[in-house]
Amino acid sequence: MTPMASLARATHGELLALAAGGDQSAWNELVERFSQMVWSIARSFRLDDATAKDVSQTVWLRLVENIQRIDDPERLPGWLATTCRREALRVKGMRDRVVPTDFQYDVADESPSLEAMLVEDEEAREVVIAFGSLSEECQQLLRLLTTDPPLSYEEVSEIIDRPIGSLGPTRARCVERLKAALLARISGAGSDSLDSGDDAQ
């Protein structure tokens, strides 16, 4: 059993090597480090909670099965992200074979989700409520670009199957949409006035 303090400072590769040798505490540290990222990726595919749970659990199972075969341990975040994407698309494909072909920036829903109500910081809560009104594509992109630990643009590009060069401009447009939604909430104008914005280029 490795001391917890040293595990917290260990690199992903060191943890993976310890876990591959049978160290449960190193494995637990990997789970603590990446479970939120895996969950965020699964949720970014708009899966319901039960399906997102199945996807997350499958990802961890795949890691256990392949723990001796990860070629580059320091690229573990990318491996987890790719595995999660494949599994999410597999289950999503079984239910719904229609895949959007382009980003949409329209406002989908302005009602606050239960999840948003869990945010303690008032300012962040307002942002999350406004975030919930963005299109699925914007939500997915912003979710993937704000994971902890962070994913690289290359990894995000692979997850959403978009050219890496399109991510920056799309992120900027989604942030503009978010600002408009937030402004509409703050001013109490509702989402009806959003279509007049000049950011949907």
Binding site: W60, V127, F131, V175
Partner: protein, 63 residues
């Protein structure tokens, strides 16, 4: 929020990050499963051992 500068945008993105961190926590049973699944890493070896033993035991009475 009416001004639009790169600093404001980054502040907004960090607020999303903070908000999603709270609202998007993985359920406790997902994390518990992920930790527990570690004990399955030896399952193949154990199954191989069992399947190796079974025929030997089944053969014993006939011998």
């Amino acid at each position: 929020m009416t001004e639009s500068t790169p600093q404001h945008d980054e502040m907004l993105v960090s607020l999303i990050q903070q908000g999603l961190k709270d609202s998007d926590r993985p359920p406790a049973d997902v994390t518990a499963f992920a930790k527990a699944v570690f004990s399955w890493r030896t399952i193949n070896a154990e199954l191989a051992w069992v399947s190796y033993d079974l025929p030997n035991e089944e053969m014993s009475p006939d011998e």
